[in-house]
């Protein structure tokens, strides 16, 4: 990927330009003038694209030759794929979270959620069903809930349950396991159980200092335009979470290319080992929660409980989520929370799998 960075370096806008402040432009002006300004800025912004395009066309063959190694090519494809499929969901999540920050008053949450945190946890867990999307979307939303004063335990329960129990994911699970509707029920129950248990665990054992309360634009302040606040927090959250998505995608792509899958099949015979093995596979593969049911279905030879563990762990703990969480809540939190969630998720899958499957 180095050569990509090389391409990026001759950007016309080097930070040095910042030191020359241009004159303050008057803020007023009709919609027409604003539109003209946006257009002219867009044209100016198109210039670097054109310059880089020419550079890439001229230097393209050499750069491509350098990247021709087949393993490198596979890594780049998987890396790009994870980022691309993550971006729309990340954007959805940041739009929702920016809207919560800018437009939803704080009293809404205190009114909707029970005051007692122990009761708020299951309510928030069930509320996860309303956010359609995969796990990339839930991290920024949970962060903005915390900013608006929702108790962390409830926001964390929401963070865990949202990507696992929303209708889109459950539908995908139903399609992936034809003739086995119990798998859908088991996934719903095990995911909800895990998220509620984790919320309660946080009330009992969690410490404030582990959790870096998400900074950033905090709600509506008097005197500022709401639309402007929405834009600023959308831009900040998207760029911030997007950077961590890139880190997570790079880690997941490395495992994807470096670890042959048949290694995992060696463990498929032992029911006790296969559960944590598929739990680990879910962490390193970092498959989107809307797709992991299909991957689980393709893991023939594993017990149903082990496949359930794959689908319960995947949306809650994986490499790109750990990266996203450490960006939003801090590394101290992400490592402790993810490892605890992993253990709880595997145990819940074993329990629910033994009961239902």
């Amino acid at each position: 990927m180095d050569s990509d960075v090389d391409v990026a370096s001759p950007l016309p806008e080097s930070p040095a330009h910042d030191r020359t402040p241009s004159a303050t432009r008057p803020d007023g002006g009709g919609g027409l003038r604003a539109a003209a300004r946006v257009t002219s800025h867009a044209l100016i912004a198109g210039l670097p694209v054109a310059v880089l395009g020419v550079a890439a066309i001229v230097l393209g063959p050499e750069i491509s030759a350098g990247l021709d190694n087949r393993a490198v090519a596979a890594w780049r494809t998987v890396f790009t794929a994870i980022v691309i499929q993550g971006v729309p969901f990340l954007l959805l999540g940041t739009v929702v979270s920016a809207a919560i920050s800018a437009f939803v008053p704080a009293w809404v949450f205190t009114r909707v959620l029970p005051r007692n945190p122990a009761l708020a946890v299951p309510v928030a867990g069930v509320a996860g069903a309303v956010l359609p999307g995969c796990e990339c979307a839930s991290v920024p939303v949970a962060g903005s809930l915390m900013r608006r004063g929702v108790t962390p335990a409830a926001a964390l329960a929401f963070l865990l349950s949202a990507p696992a129990i929303n209708p889109i994911v459950l539908m995908a699970t139903y399609v992936a396991f034809p003739g086995n509707p119990w798998m859908v029920t088991a996934r719903l129950v095990a995911s909800l159980l895990t998220s509620v248990v984790m919320g309660w665990l946080w009330i009992r054992l969690g410490r404030e200092e582990w959790l870096r309360t998400p900074e950033g634009p905090t709600g509506h302040t008097a005197g500022a335009s709401r639309a402007e606040e929405f834009r600023v927090s959308l831009q900040h959250d998207f760029l911030h979470a997007g950077g961590f998505l890139v880190v997570g995608a790079a880690a997941a792509a490395t495992f994807n290319v470096a670890v042959p899958h048949f290694v995992l099949r060696l463990f498929s015979d032992s029911p006790w080992l296969s559960l944590p093995m598929l739990g680990l596979l879910a962490v390193v593969l970092a498959v989107c929660s809307e797709a992991d049911a299909f991957v689980a279905a393709s893991l023939t030879g594993f017990s149903p409980s082990a496949r359930l563990a794959f689908m319960v762990v995947g949306p809650m703990v994986d490499l790109k989520l750990i990266a996203l969480q450490s960006g939003t809540f801090g590394r101290a939190f992400a490592l402790r929370f993810s490892s605890a969630t992993w253990v709880v998720a595997v145990l819940c899958s074993a329990l629910v799998g033994w009961w239902l499957l």
Partner: protein
């Protein structure tokens, strides 16, 4: 990250997404076709966001901020604490987004191919149960089949519906050990990270170069005891023809062509 660099990044990402989803079919190398509307919407949203930000913050030069911008301006080059989580400027970690943004614009990586297919064993999908799972094949002429269908029948179909038929399979070439080769496909359910391998060993023809797309015409080559894990899909080839790579390389379905 300075605000003008952020604007540039938003625009690059937006243009990149539109480039692979709206202007070309490159997105099919990475994600499933159903994600296209979401990609286009994301691209448009990012470009709008970038354009509005360019107008509000000043571009290419930062506009000095007024008082109620509550500290979102960047004069001090902070961000010394780890991940650049410093709100006086944009997040420094966002620089990393330039890598995929510029990659998809200018150096789009190829679709996954024989490297990935060679590393994993293909697992033919076992039928769930029942008799009508493998309907009889048409009697006349060459039967075009997906690799998935052929593999399932070759491994699990104890009724032998493949027997006596000439079939045609399409896929790319994956070299095996000692001069053997496979016609193969990768199937994805969401993105290239979850690709699963389908491959059929080809007998009786010399291997075309790796990753070349071919149609292989031939008859079933029984291997192992059908209905157990010992069986593996294989074909006695009578003809191998090079074909252009399909638009969606991960779609292992029979091309709908009239005739034949």
């Amino acid at each position: 990250m300075k605000r003008n660099i952020q604007v540039l990044l938003l625009l690059f990402t937006g243009v990149g997404l539109l480039h692979i989803s709206l202007l070309t079919d490159l997105y099919l190398r990475y994600v499933r076709p159903g994600l296209r509307p979401a990609l286009i919407a994301s691209g448009v949203l990012l470009i709008v966001l970038g354009a509005v930000s360019a107008a509000r913050d000043g571009f290419p030069f930062n506009r000095p901020r007024t008082d109620h911008d509550h500290g979102h301006d960047g004069h001090q080059d902070g961000g010394h604490q780890g991940h650049g989580h410093d709100h006086s400027q944009g997040p420094r970690i966002a620089w990393l987004l330039y890598v995929p943004a510029l990659t998809i614009l200018f150096l789009a990586p190829p679709a996954l191919g024989s490297y990935t297919a060679a590393r994993d064993e293909a697992k033919a999908k076992a039928p769930t149960a029942g008799d009508s799972l493998f309907p009889a094949l048409p009697r006349n002429g060459i039967v075009e089949m997906s690799l998935n269908d052929f593999s399932s029948r070759a491994v699990w179909d104890t009724d032998g519906t493949l027997r006596g038929h000439t079939v045609r399979l399409t896929g790319f070439v994956t070299p095996g050990h000692h001069g053997t080769w496979y016609v193969s496909r990768l199937a994805i359910s969401c993105c290239a990270a979850d690709a699963t391998v389908r491959k059929v060993r080809v007998h009786g023809a010399t291997a075309p170069p790796a990753d070349a797309w071919v149609t292989v015409t031939g008859t079933w080559h029984p291997t192992g005891k059908v209905g157990t894990d010992d069986a593996s899909p294989a074909l006695d080839a009578t003809a191998v023809k090079r074909v252009p790579a399909p638009k969606d390389p991960y779609n292992d379905a029979v091309p709908t062509r009239p005739g034949r």
